[in-house]
C-alpha cells in the first residue's frame, strides 16, 4: 500500500476498515499481561460478577489499541500527532469489532500539512464502542 499524502487524500475518504475476530477470554488474558492492566474484572469471571457485570469484558485500551492499528495501517506511526478517544460502550465477549475511519478535515497544524481523521469502533450489531479523532501529518 502506498502511504497517503496530503494531496492524495480528500475529506470524506475512508480508511481501510480493520475487522477483528470476536473477543474471547484468551485475547483478554493476553492483553492484560501485555498492557499491564491486571484489573481482574477483565480476566476473572468471579470478580466481574461480584461487581455487577454478567461476565468479564474487554479492556478499553484494547479497543483503543485496535483503533491505533487502523491508523498505523494507513499512515506511518511517526506521522501520528494526536489520538483521542471516548469510550462509549463496553465491549463484551463475542463482540466482533470493526474499526473504521474517515478523513474529516485537511489542515495546517504547527506548520505541518495534516489531516484530522474521525475513527470509531462498533460490534457486529452496530453498537458503537469507541469514538475518537486522530491528527496525522502527511507529506
Amino acid at each position: 500500500m502506498t502511504a497517503p499524502t496530503y494531496d492524495s487524500v480528500e475529506v470524506g475518504d475512508a480508511l481501510p476498515q480493520l475487522a477483528l475476530p470476536p473477543v474471547d477470554r484468551t485475547t483478554l488474558a493476553l492483553f492484560a499481561g501485555a498492557s499491564g492492566d491486571h484489573n481482574p474484572a477483565h480476566i476473572d469471571i468471579d470478580v466481574a460478577r461480584a461487581s455487577g457485570m454478567p461476565d468479564v469484558f474487554a479492556q478499553g485500551m484494547l479497543g483503543m489499541a485496535w483503533l491505533g492499528r487502523l491508523l498505523t495501517g494507513w499512515a506511518p506511526q511517526h506521522a501520528l500527532r494526536r489520538f483521542d478517544v471516548r469510550f462509549s460502550g463496553i465491549t463484551h465477549l463475542g463482540n466482533a469489532i470493526a474499526c473504521t475511519g474517515r478523513v474529516a478535515e485537511k489542515l495546517i497544524h504547527n506548520g505541518e500539512t495534516c489531516v484530522r481523521v474521525e475513527v470509531s469502533s462498533a460490534n457486529q450489531f452496530g453498537q458503537v464502542k469507541i469514538v475518537g479523532t486522530a491528527l496525522i501529518a502527511l507529506p
Partner: protein, 147 residues
C-alpha cells in the same frame, strides 16, 4: 464521593523500560502483524532506531508501577466500580525498544454527573525519555460508578 482535595495531587513517577520482548507480546495481544512492530530489521528499514512502541503502549507505565490503580485505592475506589471514560495521547517523538520513559501525572479534575451517580477522575501525564525529551503527553478520564 471522591474527596475533591485530590484535585492537583501529583502522582508518583513511573519508570517504564521499553523492552523488545514486551513490545512483541503487546503486538501479539492486539493482533498487530506489521513486521515493523516485531522485526528489528523491518523497523530500522522504516526509519526507527528499534521496534517502535505502538501508539497506546505508554499507558502501561502507570499500570506496571501500580501508580494509577494505587491512586484509586488511596481514594477508596474499588476497581470493580471503574470504567475507562476517555483517553488521549499527544506525540512528540517516537518511543522505541531500548528507551526508558518516565511518566509523571497529576489529578487535573474531579467532577460528577447525575447527582453523583457517576464521578469522573481526570488525569494528565507527561512522558519523558532517557535523553530528557518529552515524547508524549497523555490525558485520561476514569469513570466511577457509585451505587
Amino acid at each position: 464521593m471522591i474527596d475533591r482535595k485530590w484535585i492537583g495531587h501529583q502522582v508518583g513517577q513511573s519508570t517504564l523500560a521499553v523492552e523488545r520482548g514486551r513490545l512483541r507480546f503487546f503486538a501479539k495481544a492486539i493482533g498487530e502483524a506489521d513486521p515493523i512492530y516485531v522485526d528489528q530489521a523491518a523497523a530500522q528499514a522504516a526509519g526507527y532506531a528499534d521496534l517502535p512502541a505502538p501508539p497506546t503502549f505508554l499507558f502501561a507505565a502507570e499500570l506496571d508501577s501500580n501508580s494509577m490503580f494505587g491512586l484509586l485505592d488511596q481514594m477508596g475506589i474499588a476497581l470493580g466500580r471503574v470504567l475507562h471514560g476517555e483517553q488521549g495521547f499527544e506525540y512528540f517523538e517516537p518511543v522505541v525498544a531500548g528507551d526508558t520513559v518516565v511518566v509523571t501525572s497529576r489529578v487535573k479534575d474531579i467532577y460528577d454527573k447525575r447527582g453523583g451517580a457517576l464521578e469522573f477522575l481526570e488525569t494528565e501525564s507527561t512522558a519523558v525519555n532517557q535523553r530528557g525529551a518529552t515524547v508524549a503527553k497523555m490525558r485520561g478520564v476514569t469513570v466511577v460508578r457509585n451505587g
